[in-house]
Symmetry: C2
Subunit: 109 residues, 2 copies
């Protein structure tokens, strides 16, 4: 086959995987970092920041949006993009919880 068997896993596992997958490309990491670095919403200007053609960037933005990592709202001629804090927070909480569990783990290996 070739399609991921999402139905065999929990909603939470699928949800975390979806977010992680969206960040699993350096261009999308770069987009997220740019949005954070600029410390505000960015209207336009994202395409020029990346070494990729406009349709490719548009596609990456779409994937980040589908995964809930960014939000985009129409602002006249251009589109205003923002980090979606809630989703980033979910990821952060997830890794924080994992790290905590690892701390008090039995030592081995």
């Amino acid at each position: 086959m070739g399609a991921t068997k999402t139905e065999h896993f929990t909603d939470k596992q699928n949800s975390i995987a979806t977010m992680a997958k969206a960040l699993g490309h350096p261009a999308r990491i770069a987009i997220v970092e740019y949005l954070i670095k600029m410390n505000e919403c960015i209207c336009g200007d994202i395409v020029n920041e990346l070494p990729l053609a406009q349709p490719t960037v548009s596609q990456h933005l779409k994937e980040l949006k589908n995964a809930g990592l960014i939000k985009g709202s129409i602002e006249g001629n251009s589109i205003c993009y923002c980090i979606d804090e809630k989703t980033i927070e979910k990821l952060q909480n997830y890794f924080a919880a994992i790290s905590k569990k690892l701390e008090k783990r039995n030592t081995c290996c």
Copy 2:
């Protein structure tokens, strides 16, 4: 075309993306969660935990290993798998840093 243009991005961006990508599949999330839940290294037993065929699980384990998320050492007949804390910590630090930046961000959107 079709291959990710890693050369255009920073080492750090590529590194984070590689780790995120490795976690971008629910089976691999499930493996990591199982290793953490069991609170110790697991020798054998991982294949039976997942609703996937043995070669598929083996492949997922390989990808987690390549991304540095788990370690595997030969333990007699079977193989002993472990979370690689350092890598998880890198991810955790990354998201913690992002969250911190988002906290003191200008409000918009």
